[in-house]
Homo-oligomer: 178 residues x 2
Amino acid sequence: MQRLTYFVATSIDGNIARPDDSFDFFVGEGDHVTDYLAALKTFDSVVMGRRTYDIAAKAGVTNPYPWLTTYVVSKTIASSADPNVTIVGDDAVNVVRSLKERPGRGIYLCGGGKLAALLLEHDLVDEITIKLNPVIAGEGIPVFAKMDRPTALELVDTKVYENGVVFLQYRVKRSPRA
Amino acid sequence: MQRLTYFVATSIDGNIARPDDSFDFFVGEGDHVTDYLAALKTFDSVVMGRRTYDIAAKAGVTNPYPWLTTYVVSKTIASSADPNVTIVGDDAVNVVRSLKERPGRGIYLCGGGKLAALLLEHDLVDEITIKLNPVIAGEGIPVFAKMDRPTALELVDTKVYENGVVFLQYRVKRSPRA
């Protein structure tokens, strides 16, 4: 059983990007970037939504994490231009569930908020690491799409960087469903 | 010149309450409550929006911070039932600006997100202390109402509590307006 970790940069008002998907207001340099890249090396695979994937794809990067087995959840993309990227259509929840059941070093969920909410609602998210940036976005893409109930977390670790970024590592508390 | 501090509890997805204004998902006990109450003693006055005030008022508390000079911003309340509470109508920005120009130990902005965004957009918020709670709200009242541009912050201090609450103290960076 592999753990799935949503590892994501947010503003203090809970946004992961501007409304146009850009995220230039986040701190782009510093020790937190080194730590983030090191953390990405600890995973075997990555899952992301189509909109998140498009940010890389539009920049010409069709395989943004070449050392990870990559799954892109999309109902509109038929197949990937890159043989190392697997497109997951309607069945994202079951694909991720199967993936978690395989042995491995962990699954990285890189975004976005809609996929994160979907997987969280199906009890498939184990950990959330917020890279909290010293900025108020004001508007943008929320870290989680709307969900009809709160989810309790357990704070596992924190790290404060000189540039004002704070890493907050949470474990998702499982609660019995009605 | 007094400083104005927005001191507010949020979920990791940037909400200060459920859609119905309740906030039972926040951690209600622990050292962070002691520190929060101690911090409130350092202010002279408090400013809040009508919806925030109503939470106390509906519970029969018409003067929730009796040691502070209290201002409630509302276009619908004509006057206060409590002689210690001043209702501010149309002119919230100018009233707060005048208040800041008076000598004093500081102004506490207790909410909500609409008033916080209004005052921030008028360069009247100096500090923001987030009481970050280990919870995903899923939906609710955002810590800031929609603003059309990001605001950069400087992280001043952090404190991690055993119960998973994290205090994050930020200074608002002033940027020249176009």
